[in-house]
Symmetry: C2
Subunit: 400 residues, 2 copies
DNA sequence: GATAGACTTGAGTCCGGTCTCACCCTTGCG
DNA sequence: CGCAAGGGTGAGACCGGACTCAAGTCTATC
């Protein structure tokens, strides 16, 4: 745990009260707080049976007007509130949804959580939150605890498509689940995603058309090696799609990219910086860089700045996720935007559908991302441009 | 609810399976999922009484080695998991903490939540989240639901220091609470804050020393009027402190600020933009602007950019909260940084202390903020500088 | 006036754990 | 040998609602 310096002050409001009754505070009273009223208490006060009180309070069954009135009045007088735990015990439903994501502080997830939370609250559900930092052990823990707490459903961003027994087990045990931002090939579970592969392909095609031959890609995704190796299967569909789209475009253009242009494992600021430096120092250094998300983009941009490389004059840059600041930096960044809030809403909607009892086949909901062209991308130039010209010529030759 | 376009596709994994058994999917099995095993089931399998099984499982009381072993084996065989709801019912503790903040998607709160979540999880607590959008009715709802769900404690950012009966009621009812980022004068409840008043005072003093006479302040805080009026009491201590610090510095400098420089109610992008425009069109327009947080800062910066005002040449700018992008924009922004993550950790730590039974007097924990000087602040110039000179001369005259 | 049917009502069970209490069986010591 | 001390065990109460069931009350109809 990070060290926290705590300067503990006595509040002025306390010192004001202290003059009169120094030993009293809300927390002291709390220890002798009276047990909250139960249905039995209400029934006793209203002089009816527990069953009748429960009926009047719960609004079910048949209750005569005078009894209903007496019960409601008693409940109000006793400040009665139903114990949701007890209720959940026999209804089997807790009105709570678990949300398991990598990190709340990531703006993308923050927005998605907000979307899900809004949609769920509208239907009377609360949200329990768990951060995994993309670690499967933390994810397993989180799922287990949520199952123990009898959440009615789970929205999750699976950390590793290779470790999923806990996920399918949860669904098999009757806990509906919706994947957010990712899916797991071979696991039949609803998901909400963005057409990242198309988006990445489109962006890459535009870069290739602008004469860029080398396009760098930097991602935080966990992988066995820091550099992409042909045949590697990424266990995060969302990043796999991003990279897949890039490679699609290369393939369509008939160009073989240098695998070293694709950097993985850039989880920390230091790793991102190192990856960026190494990319730029390659003999066939890319002339454009694509950041896998805004958090990576931030550090890439920082390195570019430090190396006095001008964007887009010296190197083109674009990133996934449109952040409020994307258009404020110099130059404004071209981004591949994802509708994070709507994704959260869609995940919640899909889950609510399951909670309503739908047993239709699981379905991948693919929302549309959008390429927002700003000023961080420009044609490749100099030697690289010539290379592109040569490639173009080669393609024409090959075509004939 | 915002419209969401859903392009619903059937996943390829499904179509692959479909060939073999089109009618089977995890969600269909789910409806006939077997009830999870209970202590009674384990006891039956292990051929011991429910009480013995519970003892072996719970690790309390006296259990002979052979029985313990049989029970544990049976539990494993049945894949037994204790029902946290049932457990909470008799222990009275749910191992869950409610977090009530304005908005998760605000990076400041996102980080604070993460800090709290990490510290709480370390002690076996989960987090239920509620967003209030600074609306007291939503806050009251959230607190009520959390109390109903028997959370063991609450971390809250009270939306309005004028509407707090639900908060004190919760504490009186025995639910410990810690305020995050704010406190409520007169309400004796633990809080974790930053010395914003000192910080704002320091920043303002520096601006005044640089010759700025007019310093604008824009905040999203809810207030009866869009423009500050002398004597106004803000119901958000965090913003009140920011503004208080600014006015402190003015007072110390013996200068009377124009109340119109202080803008409130700038909740939306449009409101922020309007406030900024109006500020800049004042006859005694400020030469420096302070944004109350990074979200406000973003839009202020945008307007400055649109009006072709150069920062800091034409107008100095600084904002509360240090965001990763603050140092990336042009010019890098001078900020008043708050340790958001540590605040979350501190709030959780304070709450855990209460959960351990502490009944000491509530305490305001004030963490240190930091002014990070970058390049968005410069000396005032032209007419304003002369004004400052005159003021300086006047003060000297007054002193003699 | 009898009776079916609907409306009210209270007693009691259940959910799945925790925990108390009484009882049995050892063992050790006077 | 008698008895206390204590480990080991099972029966059952309890948490606070939801819900079943049987019984009682009232009206409407024949």
């Amino acid at each position: 745990m990070s060290p926290v310096s705590l300067g503990c002050e006595v509040s002025y409001s306390l010192s004001k009260i202290a003059v009169k009754a120094p030993e009293r505070n809300l927390f002291m009273n709390a220890s002798q707080a009276p047990r909250p009223a139960t249905v039995a208490d209400v029934a006793r006060t209203a002089k009816v049976s527990k069953a009748q009180a429960a009926r009047a309070l719960g609004g079910y069954g048949a209750v005569s007007e005078p009894v209903r009135e007496r019960v409601l009045r008693a409940a109000e007088g006793l400040n009665y509130r139903p114990n949701a735990l007890a209720r959940s015990m026999n209804t089997g439903r807790s009105q709570t949804i678990g949300v398991v994501i990598a990190e709340v502080e990531n703006p993308f997830f923050g927005l998605a959580i907000r979307g899900a939370s809004d949609a769920l609250r509208e239907h009377g559900y609360d949200v329990v939150l768990a951060n995994t930092d993309e670690r499967t052990d933390a994810e397993e823990d989180a799922i287990r605890v949520m199952l123990d707490k009898r959440v009615d459903g789970i929205i999750a961003s699976p950390a590793d498509a290779g470790v999923t027994s806990h996920l399918s087990a949860a669904v098999a045990a009757g806990c509906p689940m919706v994947f957010l931002d990712r899916h797991v090939p071979g696991l039949d579970i609803d998901s909400v995603e963005v057409d990242l592969r198309r988006l990445a392909g489109q962006a890459t095609a535009e870069l290739l058309e602008l004469g860029h031959r080398g396009i760098g890609f930097i991602s935080a995704v966990q992988a066995p090696t820091d550099v992409y190796e042909p045949g590697l299967v990424l266990q995060n569909s969302s990043v796999a799609d991003r990279l897949g789209g890039i490679r699609d475009a290369y393939a369509r253009a008939g160009i073989a990219p240098d695998p070293r242009w694709f950097r993985l494992n850039a989880k920390t600021a230091e790793a991102i910086r190192a990856a960026t430096h190494e990319l730029l120092e390659l003999d066939d250094a890319p002339t454009a860089i694509v950041a896998s998300d805004s958090m990576v983009g931030l550090d890439v941009l920082r390195v570019l700045r430090e190396r006095s490389l001008r964007v887009p004059h010296d190197v083109s840059f674009l990133m996934f996720d449109d952040m409020p600041w994307s258009s404020l930096v110099d130059p404004p960044i071209t981004v591949l935007s994802q509708p994070a809030y709507d994704m959260g809403v869609a995940a919640a909607t899909a889950l609510l559908e399951r909670l309503r009892g739908s047993t239709t086949a699981p379905c991948r909901r693919v929302l549309e991302g959008e390429m927002i062209r700003r000023e961080s991308v420009a044609p490749a130039h100099g030697a690289v441009q010539e290379t592109a010209a040569r490639v173009g010529a080669a393609r024409e030759t090959a075509a004939t």
